[in-house]
Assembly symmetry: C2
Amino acid sequence: MTPEEFRRIGHQLVDWVADYRARLSRYPVMSPVEPGAIKAKLPASPPETPESFDAIFRDLDEIIVPGLSHWQSPRFFGYFPSNGMLSSVLGDYLSTGLGVLGLSWQSSPALSELEEVTTDWMRQMIGLSPAWSGVIQDTASTSTLVALICARERASSYSLAKGGLQGGGPPLIVYVSAQSHSSVEKAALLAGFGRSNVRAIPTDAAYGMRPDSLAEAVSSDAARGLAPCAVVATTGTTTTTAMDPVGAIADIAAAHKLWLHVDGAMAGSAMILPECRRFWDGIEGADSLVVNPHKWLGAAFDCSLYYVRDAEHLVRVMSTNPSYLQSSVDSRVKNLRDWGIPLGRRFRALKLWCLIREQGVVNLQARLRRDIENARWLEAQVKAAGGWRVLAPVPLQTLCVRHEPAGLDGDALDRHTLAWADRINRSGAAYLTPATLDGRWMVRVSIGSLLTEREHVAELWDVMRREAEKA
Amino acid sequence: MTPEEFRRIGHQLVDWVADYRARLSRYPVMSPVEPGAIKAKLPASPPETPESFDAIFRDLDEIIVPGLSHWQSPRFFGYFPSNGMLSSVLGDYLSTGLGVLGLSWQSSPALSELEEVTTDWMRQMIGLSPAWSGVIQDTASTSTLVALICARERASSYSLAKGGLQGGGPPLIVYVSAQSHSSVEKAALLAGFGRSNVRAIPTDAAYGMRPDSLAEAVSSDAARGLAPCAVVATTGTTTTTAMDPVGAIADIAAAHKLWLHVDGAMAGSAMILPECRRFWDGIEGADSLVVNPHKWLGAAFDCSLYYVRDAEHLVRVMSTNPSYLQSSVDSRVKNLRDWGIPLGRRFRALKLWCLIREQGVVNLQARLRRDIENARWLEAQVKAAGGWRVLAPVPLQTLCVRHEPAGLDGDALDRHTLAWADRINRSGAAYLTPATLDGRWMVRVSIGSLLTEREHVAELWDVMRREAEKA
């Protein structure tokens, strides 16, 4: 494809995307397709000869779009917001269009330096001290894996340069909360710790990690000759947005030389609001931190920020230095390949840079405050309604709710909950995520899509009442 | 930003990218900027209030583009080609514009199913049997890490569900070649094996792994009570494009129950040419394979294909199943979160789909054959020229060359080599990557940028002679 063809079809494509974004509220939020239906409409073998982009646009309209669940819809309340604000989308378009790669600083200096600058902008925006250095990873799953590998290597005095985890010595132990995201245990298992060396610490009534239980578990393991290694605290858990007490956990970590990793994937964005920073009081005592601007903040996926206090340790764990990647300036630059797992690196900073510049900090703050207000409004409605319960504190924008009709409990209540949520999802009117809390199903309402205004939340509440109460 | 603003600025941006791609040959290929120069031109703090996209375009022209090394340039011969063909760029634009996320099949069915279809198209294109299933990862570094973790878990009967690598038992050993990519050792270290449990097997005169040495090493380790676990063979090494003898290695792997992972990151794309498939004869004996269409083939970065023969094992190692990710169709679909490390997933299949459809298999094949022919032409020129040597076989599109003036050897020769390569890189006329081979510096010429025609290779050869011979 020549630049002139790209210009012509690119304009068509931008129009197509603009139309899609403008029409979002008309689509059923969750795709109604059956498993295998999309695949059945696509050729089983690749085309031998070229096809036109007209054919691609036709298939997009007829096959692909009907098979999507629309994350950018104003009626998307599932999982968490994955906002791809259009200014950030343009930043990503620049990145893909330029097609440059950051293997080393030398291989595209502006790529590395803009990443350094934008991650430092974000550091300032979320109120961290200058002791932190940031880098962009793909997702929090990866950032947390990197964190636990770094914890493993600090606790084992760089076992990777020797016998690894196979070198004997007391087993290293990782502490997580019973409400930690599934990626945290996954990271511990992938890093080789083993499930029997991962402790799930109980949570309190607000679903935050209990520091007394953590302290007990650490002492008990140490007394048994095991080696407490790392603790993962969460600022804004997935299920309820619970806030683990970072300060108290940091004190225990300091006393026992544990690596403290803080998972602020979702709620980290809220720290651009000074009034929310109390939720991670003590954060300066952590060793590493992940915040995903590709969730609530509006950066096009994928853009997960991983911050560390000891960048030299990170580099020592992650670095490789083959001859074909060396350059004469290596001693004077950051080579971001040594800050994570992949060698190749997109110019991801552009999408964060465009987002922050086009919005300004004030507009980003205003939107997050809008969403928090909308969540408070819905919380008040649910609490005032007979037969409904809000099951957990609502510090930010996620509500955990249940409709509890008189006489229904146990499995019958679970069936009722799953049924009304499923009816809403299948209707296409909104997308909600059921989840379990204290062993029973409830429904998460995650507010914060870019287009979600009070009217959409009010409509959702009408739909919820209609679908749950009619049964 | 509203859809209408996006439409207006998006058109501007497409024009900007089209102009950039059309002007590529005018830029100095390697950026001449000094470390810190870009950063110094950017504000140290984020803007409080919104800025216009005009300001962003101005900064792109004045600050960012001069700080880039231009990977899409016809005079880029560094590292390896990272071709982002414009049809694939448009596919990526669709992905970012749609802003949908694949957490589970349910969260965007078309995302999962198109990934299944396009990875199967590629399977057919590179001549693999239907026994293989594919998934898109970000990079080969990640794919290889996944492979070695899967190897670890098969050899240890799922130690992750027990004590991990800390559970005792004989150390698991990984075998790589002395010419393996740096990411292979890095993956072994990150997976917890430890450097003392990684064996670098010697290579033959053509830089391929010696199967007799591998067999010896495996037997010797087994005899010492260690547990041979995995071997990584490379089809197209980074330094010289050497081809490890996959068939012979597969036989040894089968005899000793080793996991065989094949790194075809670069040369895997060549397998769309039937005449190249002899380079990985025996590939059906491997357990896993990585091929990066984001290198030579033309898919916009990042698009690394990871193929496995036992998908059930992969899922068992990688799966998590928290309540908030469950859906009623789980038993009937592929949930791609269980096929790799990250939970979140871009709609990456679109860029591969658009590339293959817009090009057709025949045009992709024609371009790769063009590059191979260009490499053969240059090889002939270098071999015919006095004082020049081609240091390794040229199976595909990478040449390893050295100018060896009479009387120069040892460190003096190294200084000469690095000096002329550096003069070319600094001049902006072309980008070449020096690397070491047999302990001495040489220069890699990696041919295969989309825009590189015979004339560019001929110009490069003129520049090389001028810069090397003038000294």
